[in-house]
Amino acid sequence: MKKPVIAIAGLTACSGCQLTLLNCEAELPEVAERFEFAWFPMGTTGGDDCAAIDVAIVEGAVSTPDDLETLLRLRSRSRLLVAFGTCALWGGIAAMKNHEPRTALTEAVYGEMAVNIRTFNPAPFHQFIKVDFAIPGCPPEKHELLTTLASLLKGTFPVFPQYPVCTECRNRENRCLLIEDNEICLGPLIQAGCNARCPAVGIKCEGCRGPVTEANVAAETELLLRKGFTREEIESRMRRFCPEWDLSSPLL
């Protein structure tokens, strides 16, 4: 069997998603054996031969002209492209201030040098290119990455369940932070797969995996308003990882 040729790359992001792969220490030898890495600047030395790629797995938001160029180049030479992590899928942390003027934000960080900074509002891939599959998470879960890689060996993508964090949280019999502690927990709106990692240790769901299919934003907002949170608090909490709640999921 011919080994799938893959590229793993990052745009504007913290590289935490790519690190998720490198953290799969037990599985790395098998991954290295099953796949041919055409380009993985964070993990391998050696240049890019610019040849055709079977799968590009790309993290980060698109926020500079260079990002966009890299993304378009990877798209045009890959059979499949995977949005790797919440930034790539939804915009992520970098996009949380997208509702504020870009110039004010760059000036706040770079002062008078801001005029030289060529950036635009960080945006997810689907605004520019066709995305074939997404692995959500900030960072993504190892098991979802490995399951995706395993499916790619057979030329396909896995089916991940489309239910919210609450489902996994209830299955673990955690204390409900939303109902019992009246916390601003986003569990009902957020795509599961993390096995309720945070609520299991008493931390409310911050929403790092982005919206679940058919997230009922209106009902959750109504519920949180009744619990005494302000609309500003709720919106700011929801925008932390995904600026576009009114859009339905582009992939599902």
Partner: protein
């Protein structure tokens, strides 16, 4: 005259001796204060005065997620090897006993599910009488009398009265007979029923679907599809089946996992068609399955009145409102 009366002070001895018959499980508190069924090492961990657990005992028979088949090129699809331990589940309220009796019917009546049957065989049920809380309504759905237990424990003023319901239960009682004394049996209490009992029974009999009820839209608008209502339901058994390959490119595992009829994917089939596109349709489906029954269970209400779904719903959806609205509508 009841022969098997256990005095309060002998309860610890009874509980600790149960370990001789299997691994003891019962109601207990987790570190963050949730009441769950779980492994109990000493009687001190048990909370026999508990109200309700978060997940019902179905998790012992149909775990939230399990591997049903493992594939390898050499041996094809294989069922996982039997590793079931004998489990004594102590303190199961009548509603949860009724829930297990219903699941037994679904998974073992016709074409038995091997994994379920294996676990069921290894499970000993010790029921326990209870006090009603703000959410439960077992009397309204005829689930207040204990069924399908190996032993049933009825709380009395200064002890417990034990009944046996199976050979397995009788053997345990015989083994621990030194702990029991003879005592008059306390009268068993029927639950007080609410006015909706008749409405429920009538609806089931006439297969009432509440077509024109304004509540469907209301439920659909509020529902977060969080899944809690079915995960916490003693009789919801819908599951999803998926298969995942391994990194060796050769072996794979097939899993089954609890599903919920309010999830979008529940009615979705290959090619993307969905039999129940809207939440409203999904609620009608949920009601019909839960209260009216499908196929071989038609006319059989699977709701056992434990009240968990009303308690765990973040937006307070309560399907009993369908009946209540009808009763109030008639009265007014």
């Amino acid at each position: 005259m009841a022969r098997n009366f256990l005095q309060d002070e002998l309860l610890p001895a009874f509980v600790d001796n149960l370990a001789a018959f299997g691994e003891l499980h019962g109601p207990k508190l987790t570190d963050d204060g949730v009441t769950v069924f779980g492994r109990v090492v000493t009687h001190a961990e048990l909370r026999l005065d508990y109200r309700s657990t978060l997940l019902p005992p179905k998790k012992y028979l149909l775990p939230p997620r399990e591997t049903t088949l493992a594939y390898s090129p050499e041996s094809g699809y294989r069922q996982p090897a039997a590793t079931e331990k004998n489990i004594i589940l102590l303190g199961v309220h009548p509603c949860d006993l009724a829930g297990i009796a219903y699941l037994d019917r679904v998974f073992m009546y016709d074409a038995a599910d091997h994994l379920y049957s294996r676990r069921r065989e290894a499970l000993t049920l010790i029921g326990l009488s209870c006090e009603p809380d703000d959410f439960c309504f077992c009397g309204d759905v005829n689930a207040d009398l204990p069924v399908g237990f190996d032993i049933f424990i009825q709380r009395a003023d200064d002890g417990f009265c034990l009944d046996t319901g199976s050979d397995k239960g009788a053997a345990i009682i015989a083994g621990l007979s030194r702990l029991f004394m003879e005592r008059e049996r306390p009268p068993s209490r029927m639950r007080n029923c609410s006015p909706i009992k008749d409405a429920i029974q009538r609806a089931v009999k006439t297969q009432e679907t509440f077509e024109g009820s304004p509540l469907w839209d209301d439920f659909a608008a509020r529902c977060l599809s969080c899944g809690a209502c079915s995960l916490c339901c003693p009789t919801c058994y819908c599951f999803d089946v998926r298969e995942y390959g391994n990194l060796d490119g050769a072996t794979a595992e097939r899993i089954r996992e609890w599903d919920n009829c309010l999830f979008k994917a529940h009615g979705e089939v290959a090619g993307g068609h969905n039999f129940r596109k809207s939440r409203q349709e999904r609620f009608r489906y949920r009601f019909q399955h839960k209260y009216l029954g499908f196929g071989p269970t038609r006319g059989r209400t699977s709701c056992v009145g434990c009240g968990r779904c009303r308690e765990v719903c973040p937006v307070g959806i309560d399907m009993l409102e369908l009946f209540r609205l009808k009763v109030e509508g008639k009265a007014g």
